[in-house]
Amino acid sequence: MYSLVQLFVRHGGLITLVVTQVISFHLMTSQNSPQQEIARLSWSWYSNWALEWRNRWLDYLSLRDENIRLKMENARLHTQLTNLRASEIPTRDTVRWQGATDSLGKKLIRPEYVVISARVVGNTLSGRNNWLILNRGAKDGISPNSGVISRSGVVGIVRDVSEHFSLAMSVLHPQTKISAMVKGYPFYGSLYWDEKDPRFLTLSDIPYHLPIHRGDTVQVSNYSLIFPEGHPAGIVDTAYRLQGSPFLYIRVRPTQPPASVREVYIVTNRYADELENLTRAMQAEQ
């Protein structure tokens, strides 16, 4: 009470002014038709303005949710796209429609990949063995040996998985070997890092007679068990024949620079284990 009195003593003039103005405004807008009309129009203008700003703010605040929704949508579309690519393989043979079945009634085309969006939360670049940590784990359906790609290129291969995170070998890891090819030529080789210059990868096992030039596109081959076929991997920087070798030395600049990778997709081939087992069996026979 005392502080109220103090407040009035100090700002009594202003308080009285505000009170009398409120009364006057009320009288004006209730008793005089011009002011009443202007007040009504102004009120609707200000309330519309406030409503518009409120909506803008809500839109802005919902951007994060929208972003997550778009990522999920992207992952879904990537799944469809990679499976569509996979489905093109039989159509090169004799099957010309998607619902085609074999003589036992089994579908010839099966969805091959599952794509899950993720974010890089850790990334090493300076060592010999470089790693990435991704914010998706076993609970999200990630399993080891899944491929990690970005929109523009290949990023790495998942090695270990915890409950909520996964550890992936970067393309700058000597054990990361990707089955790749130069676009337009039906020969595949191995794309890996030679542990020298982190700006470049090496594509090996491409026969020397191919007219490969700087600027040609390097993409994932159809023999990759980990990455979807046709996904971009790099651009040829230099290509020349090594002395006495039947193969070319191809230096490749990755289309996804390892240092700037942030938003990625983890691609799991549903049949990877099955294919791996068959490959092992084949190698054992040899």
Binding site: G13, T16, L17, L27, Q31, Q35
Partner: protein, 174 residues
């Protein structure tokens, strides 16, 4: 404030109210509202200098509301009167003599402060009052430059000579 301040102010209240309500509001109607002779703010200006600000604001509100009853514009002069009451304190503070107001000069009259001082204070005071009055009359900033400002200026030009004549005639001392 000395004891003999009440009746002179009451007299000013009633006479200015009568002049404003019965005579001058007619001029406003005849000129289609473009020129308004507003003399009642003189009552607010001539209230005792040392009167507490809330009371000045209330007195301004009261005379404005009374004028509103005559002119049928309820709230309009009341708002301008209360606003001028508050503005008067700021203007008088700016024009205070060295050492401040002591009470020896009970009202803001040329009898105590001279004509130059009075015309400066009254000029600003009436300008503020008229600007606020026309702003409230139009009730929107849209008309500020083409209606509010010119009408306030014209009204100021016609009001100030009348104020000067009245002060010269009555030369109030309390």
């Amino acid at each position: 404030m000395k004891g003999n301040w009440f009746f002179p102010n009451l007299w000013r209240f009633l006479s200015l109210l009568a002049v404003q309500g019965l005579v001058l509001s007619g001029i406003s109607y005849n000129t289609d509202g473009y020129v308004s002779l507003l003399l009642y703010p003189l009552f607010i200006l001539l209230l005792p200098i040392l009167m507490p600000i809330p009371l000045v604001v209330l007195a301004g509100f009261l005379i404005g509301l009374s004028v509103d009853f005559f002119t049928g514009t309820l709230g309009l002069h009341a708002s301008a009167g209360a606003f001028s009451g508050y503005a008067r304190a700021i203007i008088l503070d700016r024009f205070a003599p060295q050492g401040g107001y002591t009470g020896k000069e009970p009202i803001a009259s040329p009898a105590y402060f001279g004509w130059r001082w009075f015309l400066s204070v009254a000029g600003i005071f009436f300008a503020v009052h008229l600007l606020w009055y026309f702003s409230m009359a139009y009730f929107t900033p849209v008309y500020f430059f083409n209606k509010i400002l010119p009408q306030a200026a014209l009204s100021w030009l016609s009001t100030m000579p009348v104020v000067t004549v009245l002060m010269r005639l009555f030369y109030p001392k309390n």
